[in-house]
């Protein structure tokens, strides 16, 4: 018997019991919807995190004060302040393949200009900072190494600062006052918007590191050192070299610094989402199996209910294969229907989640294909026993069945 005819027969049977068919497929629908929603939202979140990590710069290695091994990691960072400008200079001098190095101090200060004032974050950095962060200027120029040596009072400012302090004038060449000291604006950054953690990356004033240390925050220690590696491949070697160098500079003392690269940050950020994905995946898998059992249950009921029909088909010449195919295809149509509806529901619900959370949603084609294929396989696996049972019936017994 031809397959098309079997499909037609199976479709007719399902159409006669529309509500039951939909309810039977419901388990699969929910399972597949869960998988699709989970994968789409997970992918979206991952791409978001990856984008944000990438916005930290290219091939960046960071050194934080405080050790990861003594005390808590987070508690350690930045609290004990032992990184010095000499550390940064040593790295710049001795580490091969470090194309840019910038010691960093962070501070918040009230900034005045034009009779306006604005509270913003003051970054003390080296001239290489823009290259490390992959930031660009919209006008003017970055201060120079000479400015850094001479603790020059120059600044590069972000767009938010421009809006708040220089609303109607070209800021280049203007003066702004930090702690009552005049700094000359030499450059304006291109706008970048908010970062992953929700802070405004344009709300910034960058001054030479030395100027920040001596004139603004009056600190001896750095909040961190940023290093840009030449190539992604060299990152781990450079990371190791930096660790060795700083360790050597400290003699035999306990390490009081932490060296991290961007990849590790990205991994930390995605590790949680991966755990979530695995958990949801397990739940989705279980609900698919439960859905499959639901299909098997209904197919068994259906075979019993339709024993007479099977008897008639066998009596007029159906082979056992024809009957088996008929019920197998019915189960498959149910589960594929469940898969397709589940994909639709999954996409719809992830769209809703994304519009609520403002996350991007990436519906992966492979997840959709896999979901539909898996549900078809579930149909075959769980439909096989009922179909086999139907095909094994004796025509006379089946015809006599009341």
């Amino acid at each position: 018997m031809r397959l098309t005819a079997t499909v037609v027969i199976a479709l007719r049977a399902l159409r006669r019991n529309k509500l039951r068919s939909v309810l039977t497929a419901l388990g699969i629908i929910i399972g597949v919807a869960a998988v699709i929603a989970m994968v789409s939202i997970g992918n979206g979140a991952k791409s978001l995190v990856e984008g944000q990590i990438a916005s930290l710069g290219r091939n960046v290695i960071s050194v934080f004060p405080g050790s990861a091994t003594t005390g808590g990691m987070r508690g350690g960072w930045g609290t004990s302040s032992t990184l010095t400008i000499e550390d940064a200079q040593a790295i710049e001098r001795e580490i091969a393949g470090a194309v840019a190095v910038s010691g960093e101090v962070r501070d918040r200060q009230q900034v005045l200009a034009n009779g306006l004032n604005w509270n913003t974050s003051i970054l003390g950095e080296s001239p290489g900072y823009l290259s490390i962060r992959d930031w660009e200027l919209s006008s003017g120029a970055m201060f120079t190494a000479a400015d850094e040596r001479s603790t020059a009072k120059v600044a590069v400012i972000g767009q938010t600062v421009v809006t708040n302090l220089f609303p109607d004038v070209d800021p280049i060449g203007q003066t702004l006052r930090i702690r009552n000291l005049p700094f000359k604006v030499v450059g304006v950054l291109k706008p970048k918007g908010f970062n992953f953690f929700g802070s405004d990356q344009d709300d910034v004033v960058i001054v030479p590191l030395t100027s920040a240390m001596r004139r603004v925050s009056r600190r001896q220690n750095l909040s961190g050192i940023l290093i840009q590696a030449q190539t992604p491949e060299s990152i781990s070697r450079i990371q190791q070299d930096i660790t060795d160098l700083l360790q050597q500079r400290r003699g035999g003392r306990e390490p009081d610094f932490t060296v991290r690269n961007q990849m590790e940050l990205a991994e930390a950020a995605t590790a949680t989402s991966r755990t979530m994905t695995a958990l949801l995946g397990a739940i989705a898998g279980i609900s698919l199996v439960v859905g499959g059992i639901g299909i098997m249950n209904i197919m068994l009921v259906s075979v019993t209910e339709r024993t007479r029909e099977i008897g008639i088909r066998l009596a007029i010449g159906a082979h056992d294969r024809d009957v088996r195919m008929q019920f197998l295809i019915e189960a498959m149509i149910l589960s594929i229907l469940g898969g397709v509806l589940g994909v639709a529901l999954g996409i719809a619900s992830s769209e809703i989640v994304s519009s609520q959370l403002g996350w991007p949603v990436l519906v992966s084609t492979s997840a959709v294909v896999i979901a539909v294929v898996v549900s078809a396989v579930i149909g075959i696996v769980f439909g096989f026993y009922p179909a086999h049972k139907a095909a094994r019936l004796d025509p006379i017994d089946a015809l006599r069945f009341e």
Binding site: M1, R2, A5, I9, R12, R16, R308, E309, G311, I312, R313, L314, A315, I316, G317, A318, H319, D320, R321, D322, P395, I396, L399
Partner: protein
């Protein structure tokens, strides 16, 4: 000419645990093409069991059954299914139509299981033709529950006919029908028989058996009488007589 149905000492024994029921105890029988045989006998005498063997729905316990010269005893399940599909047509007492399936689709069913590939247009054409033979082409799209018992049985006959079988088997085809509808069905059978189809049917009713050409009486799993019908009834004539009787009854009733 070779017999189309040939039974040689066929027996059928059912064994339910310890009890053995000898439903058929050795039947030898030859039916030539074009015959029209009625099988009669009291309840439990083994008629249905015999029909199931003849219909290749069941295997004999012993003996040989040759259908159209082919020994069926060695055939396996699917080969017997093919025989049922190609060479045999079966009509049941309870019609056995697929519910919620139109008359036309019911008649198309055997063609879905044919070894030869039949296009859906051709399937439809043959099904309509078969319905036409039983006088039901105007009911093609009706569901079984929208048809009278006689009409349902005619759909079942059309389904049995549609693959042009050599033998039409019917187990009490008129058992669920009133006498007038029974005569109608016998009319269909007589027409088919005149066109050359061999028919074997089981009936309890002597009147119905008289429409056939040959009568077998079965008792206790054996054929005890086998005779030609001397004064065969013709369905058309009987219908006419019934109609006249009805008119007469109405006239009497109305005065």
């Amino acid at each position: 000419m070779q017999p189309v149905v040939q039974l040689e000492n066929v027996t059928k024994t059912y064994s339910n645990g310890e009890v053995e029921v000898h439903a058929v105890r050795g039947i030898t029988l030859q039916v030539m093409p074009g015959e029209f045989v009625a099988i009669m006998g009291s309840s439990g005498s083994g008629k249905s069991t015999l029909m199931n063997v003849l219909g290749c729905l069941d295997r004999p316990t012993s003996g040989r059954y040759l259908l159209d010269g082919v020994d069926t005893s060695g055939l396996e399940r699917n080969e017997r299914a093919d025989l049922r599909n190609r060479k045999l047509g079966f009509v049941f007492q309870g019609f056995n139509l697929l519910s919620r399936t139109t008359a036309l689709e019911n008649v198309e069913l055997p063609m879905l299981y044919s070894a030869e590939r039949i296009s859906s247009a051709e399937r439809r054409r043959r099904a309509v033709q078969a319905l036409d033979i039983v006088g039901l082409s105007d009911r093609a799209e009706h569901l079984p529950n929208q048809l009278s018992g006689g009409q349902q049985q005619r759909v079942a006959i059309a389904r049995a006919l549609v693959n042009r079988p050599q033998v039409l088997l019917a187990d009490e085809p008129t058992g669920n029908l009133d006498s007038r509808t029974s005569v109608e069905i016998m009319g269909v059978f007589q027409k088919l028989n005149e066109e050359g189809i061999t028919i074997m049917m089981v009936t309890h009713e002597l009147d119905i058996a008289r429409f056939c050409r040959r009568n077998l009486i079965v008792r206790d799993g054996r054929i005890v009488r086998d005779e030609a019908v001397p004064d065969r009834l013709v369905a058309a004539v009987e219908m006419q007589r019934l109609r006249e009787a009805e008119t007469a009854a109405k006239l009497i009733g109305s005065t």
